[in-house]
Symmetry: C2
Subunit: 187 residues, 2 copies
Amino acid sequence: MTEPAEKISRKPRADAARNRQRLLDAAKQAFADKGPAASLEEIARVAGVGIGTLYRHFPTRDALVEQVYRSETTQLADAATRLGAEHPPVEALRAWLRLFVEYLAAKRIIGAALQTTAGGTTELYAASGAAMTQAIGGLIGRAVASGAIHVDIEPLELLRAIAGVANVSDENAMRLIDILIAGMLVR
Amino acid sequence: MTEPAEKISRKPRADAARNRQRLLDAAKQAFADKGPAASLEEIARVAGVGIGTLYRHFPTRDALVEQVYRSETTQLADAATRLGAEHPPVEALRAWLRLFVEYLAAKRIIGAALQTTAGGTTELYAASGAAMTQAIGGLIGRAVASGAIHVDIEPLELLRAIAGVANVSDENAMRLIDILIAGMLVR
DNA sequence: ACAAATACGGAGGCATCCTCCGTTTTCAAG
DNA sequence: CTTGAAAACGGAGGATGCCTCCGTATTTGT
């Protein structure tokens, strides 16, 4: 055995990797321009590959959305860690939620993804969801531990609430954040 | 003039009224079963009318959704008035929001409608939206006037926030209501 | 009963969606 | 460098849905 026992034989083909990346680039653009309902056939066209190739790489629309925004959600998760270190718990939470709204504004897909998940079971939970859950969960856990706030709702649901509003108006979403935090403060 | 001056001539045709009702019935069923994206062609098929007839009566999907749930939204609006008379302002608001969540659970479409509106301009605002706006607006106005709460967010946005969560979990939506109200209380 | 006013219905053009499979490309062993 | 099989490509094709348009059928007032 010249290869690690677990992994089997070949290394990924070059053209496959290239096309995958092209698809992700085209998809990112398309989702940004036309929202999460952008045509998959057009994405394939723009990427210069056949529709079949798109489907081979990303079996479902959600799989594609997920991958496209993996980097965004990762950034958001990292920011949570950073903010947690730089600010007192409650302010860190507030700052991160505001950042979340800003991200939603730029990449409407994240919000759509959170909502989409509503309907049925989606792989979306897999990565984006996990990252988000961890980020908000950490910040809230910290704030609760500090004794400043009290929370009896699933952290992820707070994001859903904010996302619902942010899709329509950033301004109102920002105000919602303050209301939510005020509502969780221990009196 | 034997008719009111404004209205012109004829009375609505019998077949038109019948088909309209059939469409509403079929649509109600379809939306309940398959969500707000149910096929319009299938609705027409089930109703036993041509697709053309469906479109004549309801030019857009939203127009149909709107009509289907007009009774629900109307009931909700009436409830707002009633609760407003029976409870102190803040409790009336809380009670109505809980009722709102219960309605969402039963008819997921209302929530979907609120979200749909997000994307673009929709006739949905016309009736359902107006009724909702008025209901929540009234309750909040009253609570603010009583000096108990302070609100700097669009009332309708509160509903969007709640709807975003309610689509996934009633329990969490109910808790969200308490957080929101606590967050708006004047301290 | 009759004509005008209304309403019906579905064919047709267009846009996706997703699958399936014959062809092409890549990789690595010899 | 050859070579053959694994891996990937790509797009035609079948299905569904949207919406419009207009010739045909029904209803209504007189």
